[in-house]
């Protein structure tokens, strides 16, 4: 299956990745091979088969809406590449 470099670049953009033109080329080839391989799933008739997303059949785990202790602000900020003691600091968004 042929995947174009344009398609790879578009997907990379969606995934917030920046690929070099060499990487895009290589990725297009590899993704093409992989998609050709997974196309074998089309040999199977899955009409009416429910999709499975949960390995074990359980219901949603809810809890009462009560305030419980969380993590210290200091601990949460401790791994921040840039923080001002209150929040994480990032480059301009707009």
């Amino acid at each position: 299956m042929k995947i174009t470099p344009e398609e790879i670049s578009h997907v990379a953009d969606l995934a917030r990745l920046r690929l070099s033109s060499d990487e895009v080329e290589a990725m297009a080839g590899q993704l093409g091979d992989i998609l050709s391989y997974v196309a074998k799933l089309n040999e199977l008739d899955t009409e009416g088969i429910p999709p499975m997303t949960h390995a074990i059949s359980i219901v949603n785990a809810f809890r009462e809406d009560e305030v419980k202790p969380s993590l210290d602000r200091e601990k949460i900020l401790s791994n921040g590449p840039q923080q001002d003691g209150e929040s994480f600091v990032v480059p301009r968004i707009i």
Binding site: A15, R16, L17, V38, E43, T46, I49, A55, K75
Partner: protein, 486 residues
Amino acid sequence: MALHALTIHELQEMLAKGRVSAVEVARDVLDRIAKVEDKVRAYITFDRELTLEQAEAADKKLKNGTGGSLCGIPLSIKDVLCTEGMRTTCGSRILKNFVPPYDATSVVKLKQADAVLVGKVAMDEFAMGSTSENCAFGPPKNPWNIDYICGGSSGGSAASVAADECIASLGTDTGGSIRQPASHCGVVGLKPTYGRVSRYGLVAFASSLDQIGPLTKDVTDCALMMNVISGYDANDSTSVPREVPDFRNSLKDGLHGLKIGIPKEYFIEGLDPEVESNVHKGIETLRDAGAEIVEVSLPHTDYCVAVYYLIAPAEASSNLARYDGVKYGFRDMSSETLLDMYKNTRSQGFGDEVKRRIIIGTYALSSGYYDAYYKKASQVRTLITEDYRKAFENCDVLVSPVTPTPAWKLAEKIDDPLSVYLSDILTISANLAGIPGISVPCGFSAKGLPIGLQIQGAHFQEEKLLNVAYNLEQGLNISRLRPNNL
């Protein structure tokens, strides 16, 4: 035998009787690491002083008889599990300096049992891989022959146990990542039923497939580890509120009344003749222990790789979106806009295999392709799960090879990702269905590389797995063998 070469159960007895101290055990393990780590390269982070401190604390508890079940036992932890205050990299540059502010639940349980956590071991980046060569800090080497891969993604876990650089390890398995390296390194590795062990604090790769499990020197140790790490956790919404049995009760001789199913589709065309003959020898050993052997079919086996390599990357593309340089991990500080920061951070921080899987996953979920790829794969996942349900109507457990071949040489398949994906065919289905599976050493190739035998069971039937594994181990009597050229 040297202390580092002993098992959990042997050391438990010696420590309880005061024949040896936790500090002596820790020192012996640390000396062993100093001797062989240059060759094995299992560890990403370890702290000699911290290890000895924990051992000293363990000795105090042993003295007043207040020690937990793993008191004083040195363990390694796959670097994908959060350990408070100890660097956790997931084998990635993007988390090279990340120090978690909390412990994973499974780590908490090990600490509550007073285990000594020696350090964090190597793995494929974000658990994506089957050789551990995708580790940003260098691959671990197979202790049986250091020119060969350990398998992955829990390669460091398997290697550290096989090389006696720890007494046991905690790994994770999403498509075979405990069982396959266990098989390649000649140790026992168990993937529990999905929901049996809490995933809280496990850095997520594919949330519907990931499970934490032990890698140990023998089946008894596996049961002991399972007793500690299993159990319901309110912090994990996929954790199942089900009672945990004492897994030691499974360590009984004799398999009379047990039916073992051999799935014919697992004896594939590319199966290495040495793997096949060793697994057949294992099956005969189980027959000798009293089991009845029947043939069963898992008709959709051939489709499991295609299903996995759509579902797992799709889930990963979502889980790895959090690595954006905002709150933790690497950030490209030269970026001037937020979008640039995201793109530069992720592009510099992630390795090739991770990028490849994010691309596959994003593609499979994207508008226009979702039905053809992700939904289709999820439907076939239902068929695969149904195969197991039908098979278990005719048998108690399934026995098969773990991998089509023994370990291959480092760098041999580094440019052929698809061929590596195909080698996962015998382990993937268990994750898709959520059932438990264990790899037990059953022999060696002519080149001296370990070969494992896989036992799979129905949901929450780890007891049956351990029972069969125990009888195999007793019958083959190879669990004391160690690599002898380190």
